[in-house]
């Protein structure tokens, strides 16, 4: 099923060259990849980070600066991701020693430090130069984002079935018990933190390659963290299909709302997020499973 969907999506730019369709597809994949990277850390390993924007922003910023500076896109993306991996180790090692609320707040503090400092050091807006604008094509951006979404989803799929993934699940449920049954808790947390950061950074790099002009501070905005959390919880935290499903739903909904007012959609998504956390902690995936099992039950009774 998954392979079929991906195959169909690969064909899309050959069938249509409509800007709005391709942009919409690009954004769904971008957000799916970003949310999936958070899902690795928050969903599979249970570490609620509020500083995800730091890694997305760092990836976007470094990639863009190198790419606009004349490096090839591949070099720029690789370098951007490498910087983010280094940052992930540097930031993860101290913050992962913190537990529960202190980890969430600590990561938020790191992201805010990066956001404010970037804003101070690079106050100028970053715009694509005219020669890049002339040759600007959506299709390569589309494929890159699709690739990121597929890779991050495959990572979640593979991890959930691996020994390492079971270790993460143990850490998520109870760190002390995990340690007692022989899981090296800190090593598991750091590994998944760096992996999650690297995916967020690469996704950020793709955004830096896609977006025409932005203030460097913008890619570090806490809104990126919020979007990643919202999409993950909408779809279903800790599940493989949750983030892509949540991203598609989120962008459909956002497009419908953005026609009216930009601010309104933040209001509605904030409220929706609270509602999902309160009432449907399993997200769309869980709701679908419940629906499906009831339907099967009804059919069996009828047949």
């Amino acid at each position: 099923m998954g392979a079929f969907v991906v195959g169909a999506l690969t064909m899309l730019p050959l069938v249509t060259s409509s800007r709005s369709v391709l942009t919409w597809g690009f954004l769904v994949f971008l957000y799916a990849a970003l949310a999936q990277s958070w899902n690795l850390l928050g969903g599979l390993a249970g570490q609620v980070s509020l500083g995800h924007a730091a890694f997305f922003g760092l990836g976007a910023f470094v990639t863009r600066v190198l790419w606009l500076g004349g490096q090839s896109l591949a070099t720029a993306l690789a370098a951007g991701t490498a910087v983010v991996i280094a940052a992930g180790i540097l930031i993860g090692a101290p913050t992962l020693r913190l537990r529960g609320p202190y980890f969430a707040i600590g990561t938020l503090a790191v992201a805010e430090i990066l956001r404010i400092t970037t804003g101070n050091l690079f106050p100028e807006v970053s715009t694509l130069p005219a020669r890049s604008l002339a040759g600007y094509a959506l299709a390569p951006r589309y494929y890159l984002a699709l690739g990121a979404a597929v890779v991050s989803t495959l990572v979640v799929w593979a991890l959930a079935r691996s020994r390492f993934g079971y270790g993460l699940a143990a850490v998520r449920e109870d760190e002390d018990v995990a340690e007692a049954i022989g899981v090296h808790v800190f090593r598991h947390k750091l590994a998944v933190f760096v992996l999650s950061s690297a995916l967020a950074g690469a996704t950020g790099g793709i955004f830096g390659y896609y977006h025409l002009s932005f203030y460097p501070q913008f890619v570090f905005s806490p809104l990126w963290t919020f979007d990643a959390l919202l999409i993950t919880f909408l779809g279903g935290a800790g599940t493989m299909w949750g983030p892509p499903l949540g991203a598609a739903f989120y962008l459909l909904f956002r497009e419908a709302l953005a026609l009216r007012l930009v601010e309104i959609h933040l209001l509605i998504f904030g409220a929706l997020f609270v509602l999902v956390v309160l009432a449907f902690p399993g997200g769309l995936i869980e709701a679908w499973r419940m629906f499906a099992s009831r339907w099967i039950a009804v059919r069996e009774r009828g047949g």
Partner: protein, 289 residues
């Protein structure tokens, strides 16, 4: 030298408000194990109460405190009923995690509502005494900030007396210590939770009104105040009112000094870095038991 002293005085004056801004969050976390990361947005709303009372009827911001406190008390009670009552049945770890997520969404909702209702611009209160200062030697002390600091100190003192000298305050502290034991001795902890959350919100409202005395209010100030409150709590110790006040003063002075030495753009960063250093040395806070 005078300039350093002057910066220290400014830091102390703003630091009193940091303490007051943090104490409500600390109270809620201590009693309910709910970390309301939308606390800064409640401070923002308190600021708007004062701004509107001043704009409409020229009410003095120090008088507006009397409106902002009760209004936010009611608002907090409503928010608690709506969003946080369900959490009471969860284990402490799940409760904290979910409350952070809910607060994160709530912060976005409140901030967006404020933008829709009042626009994204900064608004300021301009009472007749706005620019007045008292000179002590070469150092000037802005009177409005001094007044806000004094009132913050009084409110914290009142809160201390409430928590230590009244039956309701004792019940709050008992619930914070051990909610199961509190239930067993007949304390209605459902009502205590509600009171604690509403009281924490009222303290945020008072803090917001006092912030408006000397600083502009805008929908975006919430996150900054939440972070300051968290820094102060980690420095001063959870549930320790005196410690919170001192930590607020300390953060104020540290920010103001570093703003002077490193440039104003970095004053917020210094507080956050301090916070991370303390956390990495004491992963559960400086004064954890």
């Amino acid at each position: 030298m005078t300039i350093l002293l002057q910066n220290a005085v400014f830091g102390l004056l703003i630091g009193g408000l940091y303490g007051l801004g943090a104490v409500g969050l600390s109270l809620v976390f201590g009693v309910l194990a709910v970390l309301n990361v939308a606390h800064g947005e409640l401070i923002m709303l308190g600021g708007y109460v004062s701004v509107w009372l001043f704009t409409l009827w020229r009410v003095d911001p120090f008088v507006s405190v009397l409106a902002a406190g009760p209004l936010l008390f009611l608002g907090g009670a409503a928010l608690f009923r709506l969003l946080f009552t369900r959490l009471a049945s969860y284990s402490e770890e799940v409760r904290i995690k979910n409350s952070i997520l809910i607060g994160f969404g709530l912060a976005l909702v409140l901030q967006t509502l404020a933008i829709l209702a009042w626009g994204a611009d900064e608004r300021a209160v301009t009472p007749s005494y706005a620019g007045r200062v008292a000179a002590i030697g070469n150092v000037v002390v802005p009177l409005s900030r001094l007044g806000a600091m004094a009132l913050a100190f009084l409110v914290l003192g009142g809160l201390h007396l409430f928590l230590t000298r009244t039956r309701a305050g004792t019940a709050l502290r008992a619930t914070a210590d051990d909610d199961q034991a509190a239930t067993l001795v007949g304390i209605p902890i459902g009502r205590i939770y509600l009171t604690a959350f509403a009281l924490g919100s009222a303290l945020a409202g008072v803090a917001g009104a006092l912030v408006s005395v000397s600083d502009a209010i805008s929908p975006a100030i919430g996150l900054g105040w939440t972070l300051k409150a968290l820094i102060v709590i980690v420095l001063g110790g959870m549930g320790n009112i005196f410690g919170t006040f001192v930590a607020g003063l300390f953060l104020g002075v540290a920010e103001s000094m570093s703003g002077f030495l490193l440039g104003n753009a970095y004053r917020e960063v210094v507080g956050l870095v301090m916070f991370l250093i303390v956390l990495s040395v004491r992963p559960r806070g400086l004064f954890s038991r």
